[in-house]
């Protein structure tokens, strides 16, 4: 199971890198989304993939899962949700203002200042 997860994470991160290296702003944002998905999956894999009951007192199960990675993922998901939303709004505004979504035309060199 861990090997499968590693492959999935690897695929996600690879696609994220590919997308982020492209010039279109929207692709880059999708790339950052995939990147954080990969990171979140990595947390849950690193916490150990176990079967067990939710770590609540009433469950009285033989085995419990580690609640910490799940709490971390929830936090990380909320944060990346916020950042992605902000990034999207910003990209939209930048597109309106600059008239392009091509990163090549957004360079900060002398000609563009």
């Amino acid at each position: 199971m861990e090997i499968l997860m590693s492959l999935v994470i690897g695929a996600l991160l690879a696609s994220a890198v590919y997308l982020m290296l492209s010039k279109s702003l929207l692709r880059i944002i999708i790339g950052t989304g995939l990147l954080s998905h990969g990171a979140h999956l990595l947390i849950i894999t690193m916490g150990g993939l176990k079967r067990g009951a939710a770590p609540l007192l009433g469950e009285e199960a033989a085995a419990y899962v580690d609640p910490l990675p799940q709490a971390l993922i929830l936090t990380a998901i909320v944060i990346s949700f916020g950042v992605t939303a902000f990034f999207l709004v910003l990209a939209y505004r930048a597109y309106q203002e600059l008239g392009t979504d091509n990163m090549d035309e957004m360079r900060g060199n002398e000609a563009n200042d």
């Binding site: 009433g58 939303a85 709004v89 939209y92 309106q96």
Partner: protein
């Protein structure tokens, strides 16, 4: 772009209330089971987004004349206030209090100050999500 979407509009009027009720259920389920303010808030704003899809932004703003950023502020005050309440009792920050209370209609109910915090989260999530969607949606 105005299409004839009577079916969508009629059903979404009904479904809206179902989603909101389910969101409130999720919110209260967070007490001892999976659920809570974050999911509840997302679900509620999902319901409002459904209305946005069925109608247009003006109608929805007329229906909910709320400044969502103020909603974020109120939610934050709730959350921070709950956490800061522990300062009054000189116990570590964020320590919650809980206990069972017998209420007239509901019978024995367990109350928890985490609920107040969750209310704050609920409001913040609705506020933030709707602000984002309105910001992108408005300029079209």
């Amino acid at each position: 772009m105005k299409t004839n979407d009577v079916i969508l509009q009629t059903t979404s009027k009904v479904v809206f209330f179902m989603i909101v009720l389910f969101a409130i259920h999720l919110f209260f389920a967070g007490h001892y089971n999976p659920g809570g303010g974050f999911v509840g808030g997302l679900m509620t704003s999902g319901a409002i987004v459904l209305l946005l899809l069925a109608f247009d932004i003006k109608t929805v703003v007329k229906g909910f004349p709320i400044d969502y950023i103020i909603l974020v502020g109120i939610g934050l005050l709730f959350a921070v206030g709950t956490a800061a309440g522990s300062l009054l009792f000189n116990i570590p920050f964020f320590t919650h209090a809980f206990g069972d209370v017998t209420l007239p209609v509901l019978g024995k109910t367990s109350l928890h100050t985490a609920m107040l915090f969750d209310t704050g989260v609920y409001l913040v999530v609705i506020g933030v999500t709707m602000t984002i969607i309105q910001t992108i949606g408005e300029s079209e």
